[in-house]
């Protein structure tokens, strides 16, 4: 099982997976974290710039991976940087995937327990989520891609529909002045973005499954660019409705935004729809990360993928419950973001150079 690639995905499916992987719970929190750092309404510029910038490491990783078609990072790394170093990097990546999955799960848990299910024990909420994810992941990459494909139209329609409705309380003057304090706040705001935009790491194993690995670069660029509108919409609408001061004081500013207006349609209030859809969206991210971690472990240790999937379950749960409170959850998220920058921003270029170099030598 390990070492054998079970099935293939097309380029468009890879894009769907990547988009679903990037779009995460931080849509709800991004306006607050960015506004805290920047202090001006210009965070939407940060979001755009950050998105465009994050294309670069993703693209580099894609370039690296397509040099080894049909192999995941965990398989080709030993050839590239030697076995011990590859094992260390691989473990780090797996751990990263686990932490990322855990953070997403924790966000779902916090949101669900806060908005939907007061009094339901945390572990039950998490357990159900993990079990369903396990069931999906057992189907392999094709199941993941189909799930992403299934969720995408639902999620996008409802997300943008709800956003359109929220224009009711949108006030453009809250977004002014543009660049009132120069570019410095924009850059400060960008420091929280890695958590939202990390994309490259999914490519480490995604490219191996593509039937046309040559198009990996296209997948990286498209996948990242498609997600920018979501984050920009979330940032612009939230700041536009609540102003910077109002945004900073809310834990989940985007959900508060959706809660704060009523439209006399079927539902009157739409956060239930949004939460339902976004739970699915986070589910797909969680599954991809979980699958990545299990795949890495299985390929590094030559264990069966299914066994590894079972093995990572308690780890993910423990990591999920690690942060003691909501503030530590956000600290945890921030830590993961920094980790991603260091690992994928910092490592991608040297690795790419190394792979090019090694290739020439052989």
């Amino acid at each position: 099982m390990a070492g054998k690639i079970p099935d293939r995905i097309t380029t468009s499916q890879a894009v769907f997976i990547l988009v679903n992987y990037i779009l995460v719970a931080s849509v709800f929190t991004l306006p607050r974290t960015a506004a805290e750092k920047a202090g001006t309404p210009d965070i939407w510029i940060s979001v755009i710039c950050g998105g465009v910038l994050s294309v670069l490491p993703a693209f580099l990783i894609a370039c690296m991976c397509r040099k080894f078609p049909g192999e995941t990072f965990f398989q080709f790394a030993p050839k590239m940087i030697g076995k011990p170093l590859a094992l260390a990097t691989g473990t780090l990546f797996c751990l990263y995937f686990l932490c990322y999955a855990a953070f997403e799960l924790r966000s779902v848990q916090e949101i669900t327990v806060f908005f939907l299910l007061e009094g339901t024990p945390n572990w039950a909420v998490a357990a159900l989520f993990i079990w369903v994810a396990l069931y999906l992941c057992r189907g392999g990459i094709n199941a993941l891609s189909r799930m992403c494909r299934l969720i995408t139209p639902l999620a996008w329609t409802i997300f943008f529909g709800v956003c359109l409705l929220s224009l009711k309380i949108f006030d453009i003057s809250n977004l002014r002045p543009v660049l009132g304090e120069g570019l410095a706040p924009v850059f400060r705001g960008m420091s929280v973005l890695p958590l939202s935009y990390t994309a490259g790491e999914a490519l480490l194993f995604l490219v191996a499954f593509m039937d046309k690995p040559k198009q990996a670069g296209r997948v990286a660029v498209l996948g990242t660019l498609i997600t920018i509108p979501f984050y920009v919409t979330s940032a612009v609408l939230t700041i536009g409705a609540f102003s910077v001061e109002g945004t900073v004081t809310r834990t989940w500013p985007f959900i508060d935004l959706i809660r704060s207006f009523e439209v006399a349609l079927l539902f009157e209030r739409f956060e239930s729809l949004l939460l339902a859809i976004w739970t699915m969206q986070i589910f797909s991210t969680f599954c991809i990360a979980l699958y990545g971690a299990a795949l890495g472990i299985s390929q590094m240790s030559n264990l069966k993928l299914n066994h590894c999937l079972f093995a990572v379950l308690p780890l993910v749960y423990l990591l999920t419950e690690c942060p003691p409170g909501i503030n530590s959850v956000f600290a945890f998220g921030h830590f993961i973001g920094d980790w991603a920058v260091l690992m994928f921003g910092g490592l991608s270029l040297p690795l790419l150079l190394l792979s090019a170099f090694r290739r020439k030598k052989t």
């Binding site: 999906l136 299934l150 739970t279 690690c322």
Partner: protein, 585 residues
């Protein structure tokens, strides 16, 4: 510093929970594996059939008795194929010896306890060769037998013109079959049991003095139902034709669909004790060869003593018997079968049942009706969208009711919430129990309505539904809103064109209700994800079940929720990997 880290470490409680999280799916998987292992021991599903490839004659492996004969349909020079008719007897089959008296005696011996087997002694024509005709009263077309068999045999003068004495057996056989008998379907056998089997299925068997082979004459005429409109799949527009219980009528209905030479019909015999004929139909040049091979392989693994209905075959062939979803569709409509064949699917027809099986099945088919294609594309699309909405309602409506009322009344409009809650004030039960009471009541009503005699069935249903609904509300057991929800659910589930798919939805509805009762809206979302995960992982004959919704190629979406105009439907569904991908240019 240390304090901070310790604060992040999970406690024992968390460890125990994480073990629980590991243990539950592990246990479930173990149980599934055990289930499958047990089933693998009991069934022959996993075995590879060892017969020849390509729908030939040889039989299934172990018992060697499921003789797959291809009578009349394929053989120009008919003879009973590999007639090892001895059935369960292991010893060499009894054979005819050619001496009439002994043969008759041995035939009477094997059929001694079957008093419906009739004997007719006669003498053939001018040479006065003694002969005997065996047949079963009621199964044989007597009039035809009198005119086409008895009369020519007895009057045979011209045929023996040049012969001085009784001709030798081979020549006699030639003369009888080629110059005397006026029957199209003729077979020969020298085994007593094989001929008895034929006699019991309506053929007449002719024994002639001096001939070691007997002649089996196809004169069967059982009582059949005429072609009627199918009851379970009524349509407003479309042919008013349904299959009946006779295999030959059913294959004829398929052939009558239009002139075409590509339709293949392979005949198989299934059932170890009671043998039945079964036809595998597909269109050569469209259906994928691998798919057909896989179906044939599975057909060969059928090992059961009697196949009572095509449902037996469905259950023995399907991929995953633990799934609530049908992986093989049953239908009474020939047009539906033809449409499926033209998409590259295969169909199985069984003698004795009007239900044909279509395979492989994808999710979209459960909600499609042939009418979608007969009407213009606007109405077809509208009806499809309606059916999807109805299926969603019938799956989730009671669950949503439960979750909104017991967990988040804040999420529904305030006025509605107030009116629901005020109407629920006297209700002593939690919402789950309330919804279960009503759902179970309506399911019982529906089931009872099916069993009741036709004239009072619908009346009973209406009266029962109205009275129970009204009385339950007045008695304060349930809220009126719930009655609306339940009624809507029940009606929605009737709009699913496939009856068995409707049952699946009913089953899943109860599961959804329990999820909602435990986890509210979050539970419903996760139930949806669980269902999707199951469907995504489910395959029917290697074709992904959800391939309509999450297609490999976007062009498959043209025929899913929206039925695009026919002139734009240029390709067959790619998920079936048809040999000929282009429907029209």
């Amino acid at each position: 510093m240390w304090h901070g880290i310790i604060g992040w470490l999970p406690g024992w409680e968390r460890l125990a929970q994480s073990l629980l999280i590991l243990a539950v799916p592990l246990g479930l998987t173990r149980m599934m594996l055990w289930f499958r292992a047990e089933e693998g021991k009991a069934s022959t599903r996993g075995q590879r059939g060892e017969g020849q490839k390509g729908g030939g004659v040889p039989s299934s492996e172990d018992t060697g008795e499921a003789v797959q004969s291809s009578i009349a349909a394929s053989n120009k020079n008919p003879s009973v194929n590999g007639a090892r008719g001895g059935g369960r007897d292991a010893e060499p089959p009894l054979r005819y010896c050619g001496r009439l008296q002994e043969d008759v005696a041995s035939f009477r011996a094997v059929s001694s306890d079957m008093s419906d087997v009739n004997v007719r002694y006669l003498q053939i024509g001018k040479p006065r060769i003694p002969a005997v005709l065996f047949f079963v009263d009621g199964l044989t077309d007597k009039e035809g037998m009198d005119i086409n068999i008895l009369k020519p045999l007895m009057n045979a003068v011209l045929a023996f013109d040049g012969e001085a004495a009784v001709p030798p057996p081979e020549e006699l056989k030639m003369i009888i079959t080629q110059r005397i008998l006026q029957v199209s379907e003729i077979e020969y056998t020298d085994e007593i049991m094989a001929s008895l089997k034929k006699v019991l299925f309506g053929s007449a068997v002719l024994l002639v003095e001096g001939m070691p082979e007997v002649i089996v004459l196809g004169t069967s005429k059982g009582n059949t139902r005429s072609v009627e409109e199918p009851i379970s799949e009524a349509l407003l527009r479309g042919p008013r034709v349904g299959f009946n219980e006779t295999l030959s009528d059913n294959t004829a209905l398929l052939r009558r669909h239009g002139q075409h030479t590509g339709m293949v019909m392979h005949s198989y015999t299934v059932g170890n004790r009671i043998e039945k004929e079964m036809m595998l139909a597909y269109i050569k040049g469209i259906a994928n060869e691998e798919l057909i091979e896989e179906i044939i392989r599975r057909i060969r693994t059928i090992n059961i003593d009697d196949v009572q209905e095509s449902g037996f075959i469905e259950q023995l062939l399907e991929d995953n018997y633990l799934s609530p979803f049908q992986q093989i569709q049953s239908t009474e409509r020939p047009d539906r079968v033809m449409a499926a064949l033209l998409e590259g699917r295969a169909a199985i027809l069984l003698d004795g049942t009007p239900f044909a099986l279509i395979m492989p099945v994808t999710f979209g088919m459960l909600l499609q009706s042939p009418e979608d294609y007969y009407d213009r594309w606007f109405s077809g699309s509208l009806l499809r969208i309606l059916r999807f909405v109805a299926a969603t309602i019938s799956l989730f409506a009671p669950a949503l009711y439960i979750s909104f009322l017991s967990f988040h009344p804040g999420l529904i409009p305030t006025k509605l919430a107030i009116s629901i809650i005020s109407s629920r004030q006297g209700v002593p039960f939690p919402t789950l129990v309330e919804a279960l009471i009503m759902e179970v009541a309506i399911e019982i009503l529906r089931e009872a309505g099916l069993r009741l005699p036709k004239p009072i069935g619908p009346a009973m249903g209406i009266v029962g539904g109205l009275i129970i609904g009204q009385a339950a509300v007045e008695a304060g057991i349930v809220s009126p809103i719930l009655v609306i929800v339940v009624a809507l659910t029940a009606i929605s589930s009737f709009s699913v064109p496939m009856y068995s798919a409707g049952i699946t939805l009913r089953l899943l509805r109860f599961a959804a209700m329990f999820f909602a009762a435990m986890f509210g809206l979050y539970g419903i979302v996760l139930f949806f994800l669980l269902l999707s995960s199951h469907l995504i992982n489910l395959k029917s004959f290697g074709v992904p079940y959800l391939s309509m919704i999450t297609p490999y190629r976007m062009s498959d979406l043209r025929d899913f929720i929206i039925r695009i105009p026919l002139q734009l439907m240029k390709r067959r569904p790619t998920m079936l990997q048809p040999e000929d991908k282009i429907r029209k240019r």
